[in-house]
Protein backbone atom coordinates (compact mmCIF):
# COMPACT_ATOMS: atom_id res chain seq x y z
CA UNK A 1 0.00 0.00 0.00
CA UNK A 2 1.14 3.49 -0.86
CA UNK A 3 2.02 5.91 1.92
CA UNK A 4 0.29 9.26 1.90
CA UNK A 5 2.91 11.68 0.57
CA UNK A 6 2.72 13.96 3.62
CA UNK A 7 3.34 11.09 5.99
CA UNK A 8 6.32 9.80 4.12
CA UNK A 9 9.54 11.16 5.68
CA UNK A 10 11.41 10.57 2.43
CA UNK A 11 8.91 12.71 0.59
CA UNK A 12 9.32 15.56 3.08
CA UNK A 13 13.08 15.35 2.70
CA UNK A 14 12.75 15.39 -1.04
CA UNK A 15 10.53 18.50 -0.94
CA UNK A 16 13.00 20.26 1.34
CA UNK A 17 15.88 19.36 -0.94
CA UNK A 18 13.99 20.58 -4.00
CA UNK A 19 13.19 23.86 -2.29
CA UNK A 20 16.83 24.34 -1.43
CA UNK A 21 17.84 23.55 -5.00
CA UNK A 22 15.28 26.03 -6.30
CA UNK A 23 16.63 28.73 -4.02
CA UNK A 24 20.18 27.97 -5.18
CA UNK A 25 19.01 28.35 -8.79
CA UNK A 26 17.52 31.76 -8.03
CA UNK A 27 20.71 32.89 -6.31
CA UNK A 28 22.93 31.66 -9.16
CA UNK A 29 20.85 33.22 -11.90
CA UNK A 30 20.26 36.46 -9.97
CA UNK A 31 23.33 38.42 -11.19
CA UNK A 32 22.55 37.94 -14.89
CA UNK A 33 18.83 38.33 -14.23
CA UNK A 34 19.23 41.66 -12.44
CA UNK A 35 21.74 42.87 -15.00
CA UNK A 36 19.36 42.16 -17.88
CA UNK A 37 16.42 43.71 -16.02
CA UNK A 38 18.38 46.94 -15.41
CA UNK A 39 20.18 47.18 -18.74
CA UNK A 40 17.84 45.38 -21.12
CA UNK A 41 14.24 45.64 -19.87
CA UNK A 42 14.27 49.00 -18.09
CA UNK A 43 15.81 50.82 -21.10
CA UNK A 44 12.81 49.71 -23.19
CA UNK A 45 10.46 51.21 -20.61
CA UNK A 46 12.33 54.48 -21.10
CA UNK A 47 12.02 54.09 -24.87
CA UNK A 48 8.26 53.73 -24.46
CA UNK A 49 8.08 56.84 -22.26
CA UNK A 50 10.28 58.91 -24.60
CA UNK A 51 8.20 58.00 -27.62
CA UNK A 52 5.31 60.02 -26.10
CA UNK A 53 7.42 63.11 -25.29
CA UNK A 54 8.18 66.30 -27.21
CA UNK A 55 11.54 66.71 -28.96
CA UNK A 56 13.91 69.50 -27.95
CA UNK A 57 17.09 70.48 -29.81
CA UNK A 58 19.40 68.25 -27.74
CA UNK A 59 17.04 66.52 -25.33
CA UNK A 60 13.31 66.10 -24.68
CA UNK A 61 10.61 68.19 -23.02
CA UNK A 62 8.36 66.29 -20.66
CA UNK A 63 5.18 67.20 -22.52
CA UNK A 64 2.94 64.37 -23.62
CA UNK A 65 2.28 64.12 -27.35
CA UNK A 66 1.51 61.56 -30.07
CA UNK A 67 3.47 63.55 -32.62
CA UNK A 68 6.21 60.93 -33.06
CA UNK A 69 3.71 58.19 -33.89
CA UNK A 70 1.77 60.49 -36.20
CA UNK A 71 4.98 61.25 -38.09
CA UNK A 72 5.93 57.57 -38.30
CA UNK A 73 2.85 57.03 -40.41
CA UNK A 74 3.62 59.66 -43.01
CA UNK A 75 4.62 58.45 -46.51
CA UNK A 76 8.32 59.33 -46.07
CA UNK A 77 8.71 57.00 -43.08
CA UNK A 78 6.46 54.32 -44.52
CA UNK A 79 8.75 54.31 -47.54
CA UNK A 80 11.74 53.76 -45.23
CA UNK A 81 9.97 50.80 -43.66
CA UNK A 82 9.15 49.43 -47.08
CA UNK A 83 12.79 49.77 -48.25
CA UNK A 84 14.16 48.07 -45.12
CA UNK A 85 11.62 45.27 -45.36
CA UNK A 86 12.44 44.71 -49.01
CA UNK A 87 16.18 44.72 -48.31
CA UNK A 88 15.83 42.23 -45.44
CA UNK A 89 13.61 39.89 -47.48
CA UNK A 90 15.90 40.03 -50.50
CA UNK A 91 18.97 39.42 -48.33
CA UNK A 92 17.32 36.43 -46.67
CA UNK A 93 16.17 34.97 -49.97
CA UNK A 94 19.54 35.37 -51.70
CA UNK A 95 21.40 34.01 -48.66
CA UNK A 96 19.19 30.93 -48.72
CA UNK A 97 19.67 30.49 -52.45
CA UNK A 98 23.46 30.65 -52.13
CA UNK A 99 23.74 29.17 -48.65
CA UNK A 100 21.78 25.97 -49.21
CA UNK A 101 24.05 24.44 -51.88
CA UNK A 102 27.09 25.45 -49.81
CA UNK A 103 25.74 23.88 -46.60
CA UNK A 104 24.68 20.81 -48.55
CA UNK A 105 28.07 20.47 -50.16
CA UNK A 106 29.88 20.71 -46.82
CA UNK A 107 27.49 18.34 -45.07
CA UNK A 108 28.03 15.69 -47.75
CA UNK A 109 31.79 16.11 -47.87
CA UNK A 110 34.14 13.59 -46.24
CA UNK A 111 34.55 14.06 -42.48
CA UNK A 112 38.15 15.12 -42.81
CA UNK A 113 37.45 17.77 -45.43
CA UNK A 114 34.30 18.99 -43.67
CA UNK A 115 36.20 20.73 -40.91
CA UNK A 116 38.51 22.56 -43.27
CA UNK A 117 35.59 23.71 -45.39
CA UNK A 118 33.83 24.98 -42.28
CA UNK A 119 36.89 26.99 -41.29
CA UNK A 120 36.73 28.72 -44.67
CA UNK A 121 33.16 29.81 -43.91
CA UNK A 122 34.03 30.91 -40.39
CA UNK A 123 37.10 33.05 -41.10
CA UNK A 124 35.12 35.81 -42.83
CA UNK A 125 32.38 35.36 -40.22
CA UNK A 126 34.86 36.12 -37.43
CA UNK A 127 36.59 38.93 -39.26
CA UNK A 128 35.67 42.41 -38.11
CA UNK A 129 32.46 43.58 -39.78
CA UNK A 130 33.64 47.07 -40.58
CA UNK A 131 36.81 45.72 -42.20
CA UNK A 132 34.79 43.47 -44.45
CA UNK A 133 32.57 46.35 -45.50
CA UNK A 134 35.63 48.52 -46.07
CA UNK A 135 37.20 45.89 -48.32
CA UNK A 136 34.10 45.94 -50.51
CA UNK A 137 34.52 49.68 -50.91
CA UNK A 138 38.03 49.09 -52.26
CA UNK A 139 36.73 46.41 -54.56
CA UNK A 140 33.69 48.23 -55.93
CA UNK A 141 34.93 51.84 -56.00
CA UNK A 142 34.71 53.88 -59.20
CA UNK A 143 38.50 53.61 -59.61
CA UNK A 144 38.60 50.38 -57.60
CA UNK A 145 39.89 46.92 -58.28
CA UNK A 146 36.85 45.50 -60.08
CA UNK A 147 36.57 48.41 -62.49
CA UNK A 148 40.31 48.39 -63.22
CA UNK A 149 40.19 44.69 -63.89
CA UNK A 150 37.18 44.95 -66.22
CA UNK A 151 38.74 47.92 -68.04
CA UNK A 152 42.04 46.07 -68.46
CA UNK A 153 40.24 43.04 -69.82
CA UNK A 154 38.42 45.31 -72.24
CA UNK A 155 35.01 44.15 -71.02
CA UNK A 156 33.84 47.71 -70.33
CA UNK A 157 34.80 51.10 -71.71
CA UNK A 158 33.78 53.25 -68.76
CA UNK A 159 34.00 52.37 -65.05
CA UNK A 160 30.78 51.01 -63.57
CA UNK A 161 29.07 52.98 -60.84
CA UNK A 162 28.45 50.20 -58.33
CA UNK A 163 29.53 51.87 -55.10
CA UNK A 164 26.83 53.95 -53.48
CA UNK A 165 24.01 52.09 -55.21
CA UNK A 166 21.31 49.74 -53.91
CA UNK A 167 23.09 46.95 -55.75
CA UNK A 168 26.19 47.48 -53.62
CA UNK A 169 24.03 47.43 -50.47
CA UNK A 170 22.39 44.12 -51.32
CA UNK A 171 25.70 42.59 -52.40
CA UNK A 172 27.44 43.45 -49.14
CA UNK A 173 24.38 42.50 -47.08
CA UNK A 174 24.42 39.00 -48.60
CA UNK A 175 28.18 38.85 -48.11
CA UNK A 176 27.93 39.68 -44.42
CA UNK A 177 24.85 37.60 -43.55
CA UNK A 178 25.54 34.50 -45.66
CA UNK A 179 27.43 32.62 -42.90
CA UNK A 180 24.46 33.14 -40.54
CA UNK A 181 22.40 31.16 -43.07
CA UNK A 182 25.01 28.52 -43.89
CA UNK A 183 25.85 27.48 -40.31
CA UNK A 184 22.31 26.55 -39.10
CA UNK A 185 21.55 24.89 -42.46
CA UNK A 186 24.75 22.92 -42.15
CA UNK A 187 23.91 21.78 -38.64
CA UNK A 188 20.52 20.31 -39.69
CA UNK A 189 21.88 18.81 -42.91
CA UNK A 190 24.73 17.27 -40.94
CA UNK A 191 22.25 15.48 -38.67
CA UNK A 192 20.02 14.40 -41.52
CA UNK A 193 19.39 10.70 -42.09
CA UNK A 194 20.62 10.17 -45.64
CA UNK A 195 19.32 6.60 -45.77
CA UNK A 196 15.85 8.11 -46.17
CA UNK A 197 16.96 9.40 -49.55
CA UNK A 198 18.19 5.95 -50.52
CA UNK A 199 14.81 4.54 -49.51
CA UNK A 200 13.02 7.15 -51.61
CA UNK A 201 15.17 6.27 -54.60
CA UNK A 202 14.48 2.60 -54.12
CA UNK A 203 10.79 3.37 -54.11
CA UNK A 204 11.18 5.09 -57.44
CA UNK A 205 11.39 8.81 -56.57
CA UNK A 206 13.73 10.85 -58.70
CA UNK A 207 16.17 13.41 -57.29
CA UNK A 208 13.91 16.40 -57.66
CA UNK A 209 11.01 14.59 -56.05
CA UNK A 210 13.05 13.28 -53.14
CA UNK A 211 14.51 16.74 -52.59
CA UNK A 212 11.07 18.32 -52.23
CA UNK A 213 9.47 15.47 -50.28
CA UNK A 214 12.34 14.43 -48.00
CA UNK A 215 15.24 16.85 -47.78
CA UNK A 216 13.24 20.06 -47.69
CA UNK A 217 10.79 19.04 -44.91
CA UNK A 218 13.69 17.72 -42.85
CA UNK A 219 15.72 20.91 -43.07
CA UNK A 220 12.78 23.30 -42.64
CA UNK A 221 13.87 24.13 -39.12
CA UNK A 222 17.34 25.03 -40.32
CA UNK A 223 15.86 27.28 -42.98
CA UNK A 224 13.73 29.06 -40.40
CA UNK A 225 16.64 29.42 -37.96
CA UNK A 226 18.87 30.78 -40.69
CA UNK A 227 16.10 33.03 -41.97
CA UNK A 228 15.66 34.46 -38.49
CA UNK A 229 19.37 35.06 -38.04
CA UNK A 230 19.53 36.92 -41.36
CA UNK A 231 16.19 38.68 -41.61
CA UNK A 232 16.05 40.32 -38.18
CA UNK A 233 19.49 41.94 -38.07
CA UNK A 234 19.10 42.87 -41.76
CA UNK A 235 15.91 44.76 -40.92
CA UNK A 236 17.75 47.12 -38.59
CA UNK A 237 21.13 47.29 -40.32
CA UNK A 238 22.92 50.62 -40.27
CA UNK A 239 26.56 50.21 -41.16
CA UNK A 240 26.25 48.58 -44.60
CA UNK A 241 23.76 51.05 -46.14
CA UNK A 242 25.71 53.87 -44.51
CA UNK A 243 29.09 52.87 -45.93
CA UNK A 244 28.20 51.50 -49.36
CA UNK A 245 24.70 52.87 -50.04
CA UNK A 246 23.50 56.24 -51.25
CA UNK A 247 21.62 58.94 -49.40
CA UNK A 248 18.63 58.62 -51.72
CA UNK A 249 17.40 55.37 -50.25
CA UNK A 250 17.63 55.63 -46.47
CA UNK A 251 17.01 52.50 -44.45
CA UNK A 252 15.41 52.27 -41.04
CA UNK A 253 18.66 51.78 -39.15
CA UNK A 254 20.09 54.92 -40.71
CA UNK A 255 17.00 57.00 -39.96
CA UNK A 256 16.94 55.89 -36.31
CA UNK A 257 20.66 56.61 -35.95
CA UNK A 258 20.35 60.08 -37.49
CA UNK A 259 17.55 60.94 -35.06
CA UNK A 260 19.79 60.14 -32.11
CA UNK A 261 23.15 61.32 -33.41
CA UNK A 262 22.40 64.39 -35.53
CA UNK A 263 21.49 67.81 -34.16
CA UNK A 264 18.65 68.63 -33.68
CA UNK A 265 18.16 65.36 -31.85
CA UNK A 266 14.77 63.74 -31.98
CA UNK A 267 14.67 61.15 -29.23
CA UNK A 268 10.85 60.69 -29.41
CA UNK A 269 11.01 59.95 -33.14
CA UNK A 270 13.93 57.50 -32.66
CA UNK A 271 11.93 55.83 -29.88
CA UNK A 272 8.72 55.55 -31.88
CA UNK A 273 10.56 54.11 -34.89
CA UNK A 274 12.48 51.68 -32.66
CA UNK A 275 9.27 50.49 -31.04
CA UNK A 276 7.67 49.98 -34.44
CA UNK A 277 10.67 47.91 -35.51
CA UNK A 278 10.48 45.96 -32.24
CA UNK A 279 6.79 45.33 -32.88
CA UNK A 280 7.47 44.00 -36.40
CA UNK A 281 10.24 41.73 -35.08
CA UNK A 282 8.01 40.43 -32.28
CA UNK A 283 5.21 39.67 -34.74
CA UNK A 284 7.65 37.85 -36.97
CA UNK A 285 9.00 35.82 -34.05
CA UNK A 286 5.51 34.83 -32.88
CA UNK A 287 4.66 33.50 -36.35
CA UNK A 288 7.91 31.52 -36.53
CA UNK A 289 7.44 30.20 -33.00
CA UNK A 290 3.88 29.05 -33.74
CA UNK A 291 5.06 27.32 -36.88
CA UNK A 292 7.95 25.70 -35.03
CA UNK A 293 5.64 24.34 -32.32
CA UNK A 294 3.14 23.01 -34.85
CA UNK A 295 5.95 21.27 -36.65
CA UNK A 296 7.17 19.75 -33.40
CA UNK A 297 3.69 18.62 -32.34
CA UNK A 298 3.13 16.99 -35.71
CA UNK A 299 6.38 15.08 -35.43
CA UNK A 300 5.44 13.75 -32.00
CA UNK A 301 2.09 12.39 -33.22
Amino acid sequence: MKNKPSLNPNYALQVASERRKNLTSWVLTAPALLWLIFFFLVPYLIVIIYSFLTADIYDVKFEFTLEAYRQSWTPAYLHTFYLSFRLALLTTFLSLLLGFPVAYYIARAKDKVKNTLLIFIIIPFWTNLIIRIFSWRIFLAYNGVLNNLLLDLGLINNPLEIMRTDLAVILVMVYVYLPYMILPLYSVLEKMDWTLLNAAMDLGANEVKSFFHITLPLVKEGIFAGGLLVFIPALGSYLIPQLVGNQKSLYLGQVITYKVKNIPRNWPMASALSLTLLFIVALFLIVIYAFYNRNKARRHQ
Binding site: N22, F40, V47, P124, W126, T257
Partner: protein
Protein backbone atom coordinates in the same frame (compact mmCIF):
# COMPACT_ATOMS: atom_id res chain seq x y z
CA UNK B 1 20.21 -1.52 -54.05
CA UNK B 2 20.76 1.77 -55.83
CA UNK B 3 22.73 4.25 -53.72
CA UNK B 4 21.52 7.83 -53.61
CA UNK B 5 24.30 9.83 -55.24
CA UNK B 6 22.72 13.28 -54.97
CA UNK B 7 22.78 13.09 -58.76
CA UNK B 8 25.45 14.37 -61.07
CA UNK B 9 23.47 17.52 -61.72
CA UNK B 10 22.95 18.43 -58.05
CA UNK B 11 26.51 17.52 -57.19
CA UNK B 12 27.90 19.67 -59.96
CA UNK B 13 25.62 22.55 -59.04
CA UNK B 14 26.54 22.38 -55.35
CA UNK B 15 30.24 22.34 -56.13
CA UNK B 16 29.85 25.28 -58.52
CA UNK B 17 27.91 27.35 -56.01
CA UNK B 18 30.36 26.42 -53.28
CA UNK B 19 33.31 27.55 -55.37
CA UNK B 20 31.58 30.79 -56.35
CA UNK B 21 30.69 31.53 -52.74
CA UNK B 22 34.29 30.90 -51.68
CA UNK B 23 35.53 33.37 -54.30
CA UNK B 24 32.81 35.80 -53.19
CA UNK B 25 33.82 35.45 -49.53
CA UNK B 26 37.55 35.84 -50.05
CA UNK B 27 38.06 38.32 -52.91
CA UNK B 28 37.56 41.47 -50.84
CA UNK B 29 39.70 40.17 -47.99
CA UNK B 30 42.56 39.20 -50.28
CA UNK B 31 42.45 42.56 -52.03
CA UNK B 32 42.57 44.32 -48.70
CA UNK B 33 45.65 42.38 -47.64
CA UNK B 34 47.45 42.89 -50.95
CA UNK B 35 46.70 46.61 -51.02
CA UNK B 36 47.97 47.12 -47.48
CA UNK B 37 51.45 46.74 -49.04
CA UNK B 38 50.66 49.06 -51.93
CA UNK B 39 52.74 52.22 -52.16
CA UNK B 40 49.86 54.56 -53.02
CA UNK B 41 47.94 57.13 -51.03
CA UNK B 42 44.63 56.27 -52.64
CA UNK B 43 43.37 52.92 -53.78
CA UNK B 44 44.10 52.83 -57.50
CA UNK B 45 46.28 50.28 -59.16
CA UNK B 46 49.51 48.73 -57.91
CA UNK B 47 52.33 51.22 -57.26
CA UNK B 48 54.93 48.95 -55.69
CA UNK B 49 55.61 47.22 -52.39
CA UNK B 50 55.91 49.18 -49.15
CA UNK B 51 55.67 48.65 -45.43
CA UNK B 52 55.33 52.34 -44.64
CA UNK B 53 51.66 52.12 -43.69
CA UNK B 54 52.48 49.51 -41.07
CA UNK B 55 55.10 51.88 -39.65
CA UNK B 56 52.64 54.79 -39.73
CA UNK B 57 50.09 52.60 -38.00
CA UNK B 58 52.30 52.05 -34.99
CA UNK B 59 53.11 55.76 -34.78
CA UNK B 60 49.48 56.83 -34.76
CA UNK B 61 48.54 57.70 -31.16
CA UNK B 62 44.77 57.76 -31.83
CA UNK B 63 44.85 54.24 -33.24
CA UNK B 64 46.98 52.94 -30.39
CA UNK B 65 44.59 54.47 -27.88
CA UNK B 66 41.57 53.02 -29.72
CA UNK B 67 43.32 49.66 -29.70
CA UNK B 68 43.94 49.92 -25.95
CA UNK B 69 40.29 50.85 -25.34
CA UNK B 70 39.06 47.96 -27.50
CA UNK B 71 41.20 45.44 -25.63
CA UNK B 72 40.30 46.81 -22.22
CA UNK B 73 36.56 46.70 -22.95
CA UNK B 74 36.83 43.26 -24.56
CA UNK B 75 38.79 41.75 -21.66
CA UNK B 76 36.55 43.19 -18.95
CA UNK B 77 33.28 42.37 -20.68
CA UNK B 78 34.52 38.85 -21.47
CA UNK B 79 35.51 38.27 -17.86
CA UNK B 80 32.29 39.61 -16.35
CA UNK B 81 29.89 38.11 -18.89
CA UNK B 82 31.60 34.71 -18.62
CA UNK B 83 31.22 34.73 -14.84
CA UNK B 84 27.53 35.61 -15.30
CA UNK B 85 27.32 32.86 -17.90
CA UNK B 86 28.79 30.16 -15.67
CA UNK B 87 26.55 31.10 -12.71
CA UNK B 88 23.40 31.34 -14.83
CA UNK B 89 24.04 28.10 -16.70
CA UNK B 90 24.59 26.26 -13.41
CA UNK B 91 21.46 27.78 -11.92
CA UNK B 92 19.45 26.64 -14.92
CA UNK B 93 20.74 23.08 -14.68
CA UNK B 94 18.02 22.41 -12.13
CA UNK B 95 15.12 21.04 -14.19
CA UNK B 96 12.54 22.02 -11.56
CA UNK B 97 13.76 25.63 -11.23
CA UNK B 98 10.62 27.75 -10.83
CA UNK B 99 12.03 30.74 -12.69
CA UNK B 100 13.44 28.80 -15.59
CA UNK B 101 10.94 30.08 -18.19
CA UNK B 102 11.40 33.71 -17.20
CA UNK B 103 15.19 33.49 -17.09
CA UNK B 104 15.31 31.66 -20.43
CA UNK B 105 13.14 34.31 -22.06
CA UNK B 106 15.30 37.11 -20.70
CA UNK B 107 18.45 35.37 -21.93
CA UNK B 108 17.18 34.47 -25.42
CA UNK B 109 15.28 37.64 -26.35
CA UNK B 110 18.37 39.89 -26.71
CA UNK B 111 19.71 37.43 -29.32
CA UNK B 112 16.78 37.91 -31.67
CA UNK B 113 16.49 41.67 -31.45
CA UNK B 114 18.35 43.92 -33.89
CA UNK B 115 21.50 45.43 -32.35
CA UNK B 116 20.40 48.93 -33.14
CA UNK B 117 17.48 48.62 -30.72
CA UNK B 118 19.78 47.72 -27.86
CA UNK B 119 21.94 50.69 -28.85
CA UNK B 120 19.03 53.13 -28.88
CA UNK B 121 17.55 51.86 -25.65
CA UNK B 122 20.86 52.05 -23.78
CA UNK B 123 21.58 55.52 -25.23
CA UNK B 124 18.19 56.58 -23.85
CA UNK B 125 18.91 55.03 -20.47
CA UNK B 126 22.19 56.95 -20.20
CA UNK B 127 20.52 60.12 -21.45
CA UNK B 128 17.66 59.73 -18.97
CA UNK B 129 19.94 59.03 -16.00
CA UNK B 130 22.40 61.78 -17.13
CA UNK B 131 25.38 59.44 -16.90
CA UNK B 132 28.53 60.61 -18.69
CA UNK B 133 29.10 58.34 -21.66
CA UNK B 134 32.52 56.76 -22.11
CA UNK B 135 34.41 53.67 -21.05
CA UNK B 136 31.96 52.84 -18.29
CA UNK B 137 28.80 53.00 -20.41
CA UNK B 138 30.40 51.06 -23.29
CA UNK B 139 31.46 48.38 -20.83
CA UNK B 140 27.90 48.06 -19.49
CA UNK B 141 26.56 47.77 -23.04
CA UNK B 142 29.08 45.11 -24.04
CA UNK B 143 28.41 43.00 -20.97
CA UNK B 144 24.68 43.24 -21.71
CA UNK B 145 24.95 41.81 -25.22
CA UNK B 146 27.59 39.22 -24.30
CA UNK B 147 25.63 37.61 -21.44
CA UNK B 148 23.13 35.83 -23.72
CA UNK B 149 25.89 34.26 -25.79
CA UNK B 150 28.00 33.08 -22.85
CA UNK B 151 24.97 31.53 -21.10
CA UNK B 152 23.93 29.66 -24.25
CA UNK B 153 27.39 28.28 -25.03
CA UNK B 154 28.02 27.16 -21.45
CA UNK B 155 24.52 25.71 -21.13
CA UNK B 156 24.98 23.60 -24.23
CA UNK B 157 28.17 22.24 -22.70
CA UNK B 158 26.40 21.39 -19.44
CA UNK B 159 23.61 19.66 -21.38
CA UNK B 160 25.95 16.91 -22.41
CA UNK B 161 27.39 16.58 -18.93
CA UNK B 162 27.90 13.07 -17.57
CA UNK B 163 26.40 13.13 -14.07
CA UNK B 164 27.52 9.59 -13.27
CA UNK B 165 30.96 11.09 -12.65
CA UNK B 166 29.53 13.35 -9.97
CA UNK B 167 27.62 10.45 -8.44
CA UNK B 168 30.73 8.29 -8.43
CA UNK B 169 32.68 11.05 -6.68
CA UNK B 170 29.90 11.42 -4.10
CA UNK B 171 29.93 7.69 -3.46
CA UNK B 172 33.64 7.95 -2.88
CA UNK B 173 33.01 10.64 -0.28
CA UNK B 174 33.99 13.80 -2.15
CA UNK B 175 32.75 17.08 -0.67
CA UNK B 176 30.59 19.42 -2.84
CA UNK B 177 33.50 21.88 -3.14
CA UNK B 178 35.86 19.17 -4.33
CA UNK B 179 33.26 17.89 -6.78
CA UNK B 180 32.84 21.38 -8.23
CA UNK B 181 36.50 22.27 -8.64
CA UNK B 182 37.94 18.84 -9.43
CA UNK B 183 35.21 17.34 -11.63
CA UNK B 184 32.68 19.83 -12.93
CA UNK B 185 35.01 22.73 -13.66
CA UNK B 186 37.57 20.81 -15.78
CA UNK B 187 34.75 19.18 -17.77
CA UNK B 188 32.93 22.40 -18.61
CA UNK B 189 36.15 24.40 -19.04
CA UNK B 190 36.19 24.07 -22.87
CA UNK B 191 32.64 25.48 -22.85
CA UNK B 192 33.73 28.37 -20.64
CA UNK B 193 36.71 29.14 -22.88
CA UNK B 194 34.51 28.94 -25.98
CA UNK B 195 32.00 31.30 -24.39
CA UNK B 196 34.75 33.71 -23.41
CA UNK B 197 36.25 33.66 -26.87
CA UNK B 198 32.87 34.34 -28.44
CA UNK B 199 32.25 37.24 -26.05
CA UNK B 200 35.70 38.61 -26.80
CA UNK B 201 35.15 38.47 -30.58
CA UNK B 202 31.69 40.01 -30.28
CA UNK B 203 33.06 42.83 -28.16
CA UNK B 204 35.95 43.61 -30.50
CA UNK B 205 33.61 43.48 -33.50
CA UNK B 206 30.77 45.61 -32.22
CA UNK B 207 30.17 48.94 -33.88
CA UNK B 208 26.56 49.99 -33.54
CA UNK B 209 25.97 49.50 -29.80
CA UNK B 210 29.33 51.11 -29.01
CA UNK B 211 28.45 53.97 -31.35
CA UNK B 212 25.29 54.68 -29.36
CA UNK B 213 26.88 54.36 -25.92
CA UNK B 214 30.40 55.78 -26.31
CA UNK B 215 29.96 59.51 -26.70
CA UNK B 216 32.67 61.86 -27.95
CA UNK B 217 36.33 61.26 -27.16
CA UNK B 218 36.08 57.54 -26.50
CA UNK B 219 36.97 55.47 -29.56
CA UNK B 220 37.22 51.73 -30.00
CA UNK B 221 38.84 50.38 -33.17
CA UNK B 222 35.59 49.89 -35.12
CA UNK B 223 34.48 53.42 -34.16
CA UNK B 224 37.85 54.82 -35.24
CA UNK B 225 37.78 52.89 -38.53
CA UNK B 226 34.27 54.10 -39.36
CA UNK B 227 35.27 57.68 -38.63
CA UNK B 228 38.40 57.35 -40.74
CA UNK B 229 36.42 55.95 -43.66
CA UNK B 230 33.93 58.82 -43.35
CA UNK B 231 36.72 61.45 -43.20
CA UNK B 232 38.60 59.75 -46.03
CA UNK B 233 41.80 59.35 -44.01
CA UNK B 234 42.12 55.73 -44.93
CA UNK B 235 45.80 55.16 -45.64
CA UNK B 236 46.47 53.12 -42.52
CA UNK B 237 43.15 51.27 -42.48
CA UNK B 238 44.41 48.61 -44.89
CA UNK B 239 47.35 47.71 -42.72
CA UNK B 240 45.26 47.90 -39.55
CA UNK B 241 42.66 45.60 -41.13
CA UNK B 242 45.31 43.15 -42.31
CA UNK B 243 46.70 42.85 -38.79
CA UNK B 244 43.21 42.30 -37.41
CA UNK B 245 42.45 39.66 -40.05
CA UNK B 246 45.73 37.96 -39.14
CA UNK B 247 44.72 37.86 -35.49
CA UNK B 248 41.31 36.41 -36.40
CA UNK B 249 42.95 33.75 -38.51
CA UNK B 250 45.24 32.82 -35.67
CA UNK B 251 42.31 32.61 -33.27
CA UNK B 252 40.16 30.48 -35.59
CA UNK B 253 42.90 28.06 -36.57
CA UNK B 254 44.43 27.74 -33.11
CA UNK B 255 41.22 26.78 -31.38
CA UNK B 256 39.76 23.87 -33.30
CA UNK B 257 38.05 22.33 -30.33
CA UNK B 258 36.53 25.58 -29.14
CA UNK B 259 35.33 26.37 -32.62
CA UNK B 260 33.39 23.12 -32.65
CA UNK B 261 31.64 23.96 -29.40
CA UNK B 262 30.70 27.41 -30.64
CA UNK B 263 29.29 26.03 -33.90
CA UNK B 264 27.34 23.25 -32.25
CA UNK B 265 25.73 25.62 -29.80
CA UNK B 266 24.76 28.20 -32.43
Amino acid sequence: MKRFSAGQFFKGMNLTVFTLVMVFLYIPILILIIFSFNDAKIITGWKGFTLQYYVLLFQNKTILEAFRNTMLIACLSTLISTIFGVLTAMGMENKKFSGSKFVSALIYIPLVIPDILMGVSLALLFNFTKVNTGLFTVLIAHITFCISYTVIVIRSRLDGFDYSLVEAAMDLGAKPGTIFWKIKMPLIMPGIIAAGLLAFTLSIDDFIITFFTSGRGFDTLPIYVEGAIRRGTITTINSLSTIMIGLTLLLVVATKRIRKIVISSL
